[in-house]
Amino acid sequence: MNFFRRSFAAKVFGTLFVLGVLLVSGLLIAKNIYGYSVIDTAWVLYGLVGLFVLLMLFFWIQVSRPLKAIIVQMEALITGHEYKKFFTDRIDEVGVIAHFFNEITRNLHKFTGKLAEGERMANELDIASKIQRDILPVAAPQVPGLIISAKTRPAAEVGGDSFDFLTVKNATYMYIGDATGHGVPAGIVMTIVNTLVYAYAETSQNLLELMVNVNRHLKKRIQKTLFMSMLMLKWDYMTKQMSFVGAGHEYILIYKAKSGLCEAIPSGGIALGMVEDNSKIIKETVLPFEEGDMVILYTDGIVECRDMSGQLFGVDRLKSAIAKYASQYSPELTIQKVASDVGTFMNGHGQDDDMTLMMIKHVGDQKVEQSKLSLATTWTEA
């Protein structure tokens, strides 16, 4: 019996066989009772017509009607309308199609659920990215005695590079930072650090105290595998003195106008979040910063970018590029030229890490026509 349930063809042939037997039996009975000939009577035709009608009826009930119902639901599925599942115990071809439809729609539910989850996560990543972009300054500040330019280009949706400028009393603080890796965890660390810098800038007595406070509170709030390197500068308007505190960041570069050379000074200290108390490790240092000189801060995405052969750009190339352009161009254009050199060096190699460059030029008492400055922090290449 199972054979007939599994195969629609078996059903048709089985039914035809039964109907044929009934027809022949009917004709034999008619002949015996009424004496009609099986061969030359019209009853044979009537019987065949009746058999055909029964067959069509059977075909309509067993095949056309259920297939039409499945097709209606398939059309609803394809056109995005509401569709229903089939409840059938049939295991023949029609039953297989119905089960197949049910299976597809069930998987589709799972898939659309995952798509919706992916879309939700993508939306949240967009929000995180926007929050981070909103935290980063859209323009460099206009500070007496300085021309400042900064550009950043994140590698992922949410980057770990951070920089900002804030003015408190007679001083402007400028920092650049790089949180572990990139992506959301790095973005969260940079957001915490940015908030802490603002919170403690007003109340800390000096640059050193500010960095100690930021570190102490950061350490309590992040995983032990996360940290952020940072270089914080302080420009005092009154004394025209530039000092810095390093927290395990890259070199601080200084272009000396008199010599035309670019020097690299180790930033020192220890990255924020590595130890609970960094007060004995970090120190405040005054920079030899004269009129015409330029201070350059950068993140490792610049010096660790690679060309197609895997070679690193490196600090020496960066120093050479700065020495080449800083004497001819403004900080804004120098960054563009360096960015262009970096792009040429990479020559199509993907960007693995966030890249940030900040350049600060000492212009002394020289009046700078602010309208000529482009202070936007969006990374562009010349």
């Binding site: 790089d178 572990t180 890796g181 995983q223 032990k224 595998t225 996360l226 940290f227 390197s229 390093g246 927290a247 395990g248 960041h249 890259e250 070199y251 180790p266 930033s267 020192g268 200290g269 220890i270 990255a271 590595m274 130890v275 490790i281 490792d300 660790e304 890490d353």
Partner: protein, 118 residues
């Protein structure tokens, strides 16, 4: 030619010095860390000895992901009263540790034997 992947060899536990020496070679970045994390965590999970030593003489590259992981291990070892050492760093890998200020907190003697004497 540099190895592009990260490889890990864990020496048998040294009962004389109560130390575990782990040799890392290749490139310690996010991909490298993912490839050895399970093996490394198995090696570190039962560590209750005195010295945990990472021999990175054959390590050609380390980035912040690798440093972050080592800092996590360092913190764990210090918290259980152990001594965490890194030995054999190549010059450019030393630069990374130095730049981040890690030599301020991590012991980095010239050799494995020197870890026990310093």
């Amino acid at each position: 030619m540099f190895e592009s992947q990260l490889n890990l060899v864990v020496d048998p536990y040294d009962t004389v010095h109560s130390s575990l020496v782990i040799h890392l070679s290749g490139e310690f970045d996010k991909i490298g860390l993912t490839s050895i994390r399970d093996k490394l965590e198995v090696a570190l999970s039962g560590f209750t000895g005195k010295y945990l030593i990472f021999d990175i003489a054959e390590l050609n590259f380390i980035n912040s992901e690798g440093i972050g992981y080592l800092i996590g291990v360092y913190t764990h070892v210090v918290n259980i009263g152990g001594i965490f050492c890194i030995v054999g760093a190549k010059a450019h890998v030393q630069d990374v540790f130095e730049t981040l200020g890690l030599w301020n907190i991590i012991k980095h003697p010239a050799s494995i034997e020197a870890c026990y004497t310093n």
